[in-house]
Symmetry: C2
Subunit: 229 residues, 2 copies
């Protein structure tokens, strides 16, 4: 039994949906665990706008309400390979973290998602972050997410929980998990390729990591199957 | 003696400058405590754009480098009296927090400021938040700022300190503190009025709180003096 709350709460979850494999899988996990689900995607000037189309498509296929929130700040902060027009080397990032690292990107996404949830009386956030294959992004890790949850709940006087069902899974395990929660069909519309190609390039680190996961899980990637069958 | 760090660090501070009384005071505190100081202001669609002019003027008067970073997200999130076109009552905010509350605003400001600092090898942030007169904004409080500092440092793999010199001062104490750090002259250009008026309206809660502080400190407000002398 849940405790009474001063605000009217529904058992509704908000999924942070990037349009990628992991957040798509989390969307279907949420559909299994909550009375209703809504989703949010951030338009932050990512180089591959095709991610936004993938998020919209995945939301559409799943029948889940979907909002796109703009964040124009990262493009101005610049200095990274995902939002800039070209790879920029700076003293701050040299030899430290992947040049696709946008400092604080997930902190910002989760905080804005929490604000959006707060306004709607939602207290369950779902994010597809993963420590096992975290690719050098420190704000995908368990301890960061836990600390941020504390900061958000103190800063908004709320009781939001950030669910991260994939946190400790290998990529192969997330593929089997996607099958278990019924996400495979939708994964045909998810986007992964760092080069923004459709069909995916299958050569970039993101494509290779995805392919490895499906091979190890012993399942065909529905995204690849779309173009080969 | 400071420990060696893998990134080259200067003893430089970044002040989050809103253009108000408290952040202006903090700017001068920083000038006394760091080798060099830079400042940042967020253009987040605040109703009173005059705050941005005040921040620019204060930075100019102090001779401190100043950047304005846009955040277009809050205006889309909407539903509050500071960024909306009119007062909007929603279920989420009714009877809970002041209708000037933007959920997570300071969490976002400090996180973007930390990203900006990260890129420049700065590890000292200064913010004029204050728990004593916190006006119902939970993300101005000590425990929120401490939790966020943990989340930022985990999420960016850095060692940023968030300094909040005014945290436990009354408004009168901040006025005496402003005098002590040499900020009084610059306070003539700071902005406080909720109604966005220049000269200030002297009737809104923000103007009244500011006036009370100067009266209790036994000092004239340089901002008021600009228009009466």
């Amino acid at each position: 039994m849940r405790k009474a709350n001063t605000r009217e709460m529904s058992h509704k979850a908000l999924v942070v949906l990037s349009g990628g494999q992991d957040s798509t899988t989390c969307l279907y996990w949420a559909l299994k665990h909550f009375d209703s689900v809504t989703s949010i995607t951030f338009d932050y000037g990512q180089r591959h706008r095709i991610e936004l189309d993938a998020a919209r498509k995945v939301a559409g296929v799943s029948g889940v309400e979907h909002a796109v929130l703009p964040i124009d700040t990262f493009a101005v902060l610049g200095g990274n390979a995902l939002t800039g027009d070209e790879v920029v080397d700076t003293v701050a990032t040299e030899g430290q973290l992947p040049n696709t690292f946008v400092p604080g990107r997930n902190l910002i996404f989760l905080t804005f998602a929490a604000a959006y949830a707060y306004q709607r009386g939602i207290r369950d956030l779902v994010a597809g972050v993963c420590q096992t294959d975290y690719s050098g992004y420190p704000d995908c890790r368990q301890n960061t997410v836990e600390a941020l949850q504390v900061a958000i709940n103190l800063g908004m006087e709320t009781q939001i929980r950030i669910h991260t069902p994939l946190m400790w899974m290998t990529k192969a395990e997330t593929v089997l998990f996607a099958k278990e929660v019924g996400a495979l069909e939708a994964l045909a519309w998810s986007h992964t390729c760092y080069n923004g190609e459709v069909p995916p390039c299958e050569n970039c680190p993101a494509c290779e990591l995805r392919a490895k996961g499906f091979v190890e899980a012993g399942l065909p990637d529905p995204l690849v199957s779309r173009f080969t069958q």
